[in-house]
C-alpha cells in the first residue's frame, strides 16, 4: 500500500493539484514514525512511510497547513477523518485547501506492548498472517499480532471514511465496539474506590501537556493552560488539586467535540487512561441527550451548543446508584 500511496502522491504533485504532501516519515528506529510534510517526489520516495506503526492522527496539523499557500494532500485513516470533519465543522480547517486521500486504518501496533514481552534491540517488525516476526539484535522473535495491537485500535469505532476526495483501498463499516466497558466498571464502583483509582492514575501526570498538544479537538490559539495569570501554566502540578483540575478542564473543553480518536492516551508518557474521561462525557451525552458521534458529519449541532426545553436536570447525577 505504501508504494501505491507514494505513486499517487507523486502524480498529484506532478500535475499541480497539490504542492505539499502530509504523511509520516521514519524516525530513529523502525517503530518511530512522525508526521511530516513532503514537497518533492524524491523526498517521498526516500522518506515517506506508512506501516503498522504510523498511528499519528494528521488532521490537527491541517489546521495550520490549510492556511498556507496552495493545496495540501493528506492521507487520513478512518478515525482521522472524524477529527478532520469536526475541524472543518468548526471552521478550523479550510476544506478547499486540502485534498484528502482515505487509506485503510489499522489495526496499528503499539511498540510498548512488544517491548513489554521482553523483546529488545528491535531491528524490524513484519506481519505474516497475523504473526509478528520481529528481527532483533539477538535473533528472531515471534508474537501474535493481536497481542501488540495499540489500545486505541482495539476499541475501533469505525473503519468507514466520513470525509475524502478519493480512496486507496476499500472503505469499511462503522463498528460497534464495547468501548464503554471500563467506564461502566468505574461507574459501578463506590465513590471512594473511584477516587482512589483516579488518584492513582492522575498523580502520575507530569503536566507535559502532550495530551493537549496532540488532541485534534484542542486547537484554541490561546489556551486556558497557557494563561500566565492562571497560576497553572507551564508547570508541573504542585498539588493533587492541580492534577484533577487540569484533567477535568481538559476533558470538559472537548466534551461534545471529542471524536474518541484515542490520541491522548496513546501519547501519554505515563500511560494514564485519559480516554476514559472523554468517553465518560461521550457516554453521558449519548444517554442524556441522544446518540451523538462528533465528526460524523459537518452540519449537526454539537450537544453542548444545543438544548431542549425538556432536558434532564443535573439532579440525575445525584439520583444514580452507589454513592
Amino acid at each position: 500500500m505504501q508504494e501505491a500511496m507514494i505513486k499517487r502522491a507523486a502524480q498529484l504533485l506532478a500535475d499541480g493539484t497539490v504542492n505539499r504532501v502530509m504523511g509520516w516519515k521514519r524516525g530513529e528506529f523502525v517503530y518511530d514514525t512522525t508526521p511530516a510534510v513532503f514537497t518533492t517526489a524524491d523526498e517521498l520516495e526516500k522518506e515517506f512511510v506508512c506501516d503498522d506503526f504510523t498511528q499519528a492522527n494528521l488532521s490537527k496539523y491541517l489546521v495550520k497547513e490549510s492556511r498556507k499557500e496552495g493545496k495540501i494532500l493528506a492521507f487520513l485513516k478512518p478515525c482521522d477523518t472524524y477529527s478532520f470533519n469536526q475541524l472543518v465543522k468548526e471552521h478550523r480547517i479550510i476544506r478547499e485547501n486540502v485534498y484528502v486521500i482515505g487509506i485503510p486504518g489499522g489495526p496499528k501496533l503499539d511498540i510498548e506492548k512488544i517491548k513489554a514481552k521482553g523483546i529488545t534491540g528491535i531491528l524490524s517488525v513484519e506481519n505474516e498472517n497475523y504473526t509478528l516476526k520481529i528481527e532483533t539484535l539477538y535473533g528472531t522473535e515471534t508474537m501474535p499480532f493481536y497481542e501488540a495491537v495499540s489500545g486505541k485500535c482495539s476499541s475501533c469505532k469505525s473503519r468507514k471514511h466520513v470525509a475524502y476526495d478519493e480512496l486507496i483501498g476499500e472503505d469499511g463499516e462503522v463498528l460497534e465496539p464495547n468501548r464503554f466497558d471500563m467506564v461502566e466498571k468505574l461507574e459501578n464502583m463506590t465513590s471512594q474506590e473511584r477516587y482512589d483509582f483516579w488518584r492513582g492514575e492522575l498523580s502520575k501526570c507530569i503536566r507535559c501537556n502532550a495530551c493537549r498538544n496532540v488532541c485534534p479537538a484542542c486547537t484554541c490559539e490561546n489556551c486556558v493552560f497557557d494563561n500566565p495569570k492562571s497560576g497553572i501554566d507551564q508547570k508541573a502540578a504542585a498539588d493533587s488539586f492541580e492534577e484533577n483540575m487540569f484533567h477535568i478542564i481538559r476533558a470538559f473543553h472537548v466534551a461534545g467535540r471529542c471524536t474518541d480518536c484515542g490520541e491522548c492516551s496513546r501519547v501519554c508518557p505515563q500511560n494514564i487512561p485519559l480516554h476514559l474521561l472523554n468517553r465518560k462525557f461521550i457516554k453521558d451525552i449519548n444517554e442524556l441527550y441522544g446518540e451523538y458521534q462528533a465528526g460524523a458529519d459537518t452540519t449537526s449541532k454539537a450537544p453542548l451548543n444545543d438544548y431542549r426545553a425538556d432536558d434532564c436536570e443535573p439532579s440525575v447525577v445525584h439520583e444514580r446508584g452507589v454513592e
Binding site: R194, Y195, W198, I248, F252, P314
Partner: protein, 146 residues
C-alpha cells in the same frame, strides 16, 4: 466517617443577577433565616459559571458549591440557563466519576419571588454538606486554613 458537630462548612452559591440573587434579597427583606455559611457570588446569568469557577471555589476552601438560576424558560437572556443545565449536568457527572462526593455540588432554580425557597434550599444544602464533613478530595493543601 466521624461527624464533627462543630464543623461549619463554607458554601459558595453562584446566584444569577435576575432571579436567584433577587430571591436571596427577598428572603432577607422577609426576615427569613438561612445559614451564614452561604457566601453568595452574583453572576449575570447562571450560564456565566465556568467549570473553572467551581473548581477554584473548591480549591480555595469551599466545602460545597451550589448554582442558582432562573427557572428554565424564564432566563433574562432567553436561553442561558438551558445551556447551563447541560453543561453543569456533565460537569457534576464528571466530578462524581472522579470520586468527588456528589452531594457537594447542586443546581437549583430559584426565581425572584421565591425568597422562602431560597432559604429552604440553602438550609437543606448546608445540612447535607455538614454531614459529609470538610472537602478533602478536591482541596488544595496549600490553601487549607490552619
Amino acid at each position: 466517617m466521624q461527624v464533627n458537630e462543630n464543623f461549619e462548612p463554607v458554601i459558595v452559591a453562584f446566584c444569577c443577577n435576575w432571579c436567584s440573587y433577587a430571591g436571596a434579597d427577598l428572603s432577607g427583606t422577609n426576615r427569613l433565616n438561612y445559614p451564614a455559611n452561604v457566601k453568595i457570588i452574583r453572576v449575570p446569568c447562571s450560564c456565566r459559571v465556568n467549570p473553572m469557577f467551581i473548581l477554584r471555589a473548591f480549591q480555595r476552601g469551599a466545602d460545597g458549591v451550589i448554582i442558582c438560576g432562573c427557572h428554565p424558560g424564564d432566563c433574562h437572556y432567553t436561553s442561558g440557563n438551558y445551556f447551563t443545565r447541560r453543561r453543569i449536568t456533565l460537569l457534576y457527572s464528571m466530578l462524581d466519576f472522579l470520586g468527588i462526593e456528589r452531594s457537594r455540588t447542586r443546581l437549583e432554580w430559584v426565581s425572584a419571588a421565591e425568597g422562602a425557597k431560597f432559604a429552604a434550599v440553602m438550609e437543606q444544602f448546608v445540612s447535607d454538606v455538614k454531614k459529609l464533613g470538610p472537602n478533602r478530595r478536591l482541596e488544595d493543601l496549600r490553601c487549607r486554613k490552619q
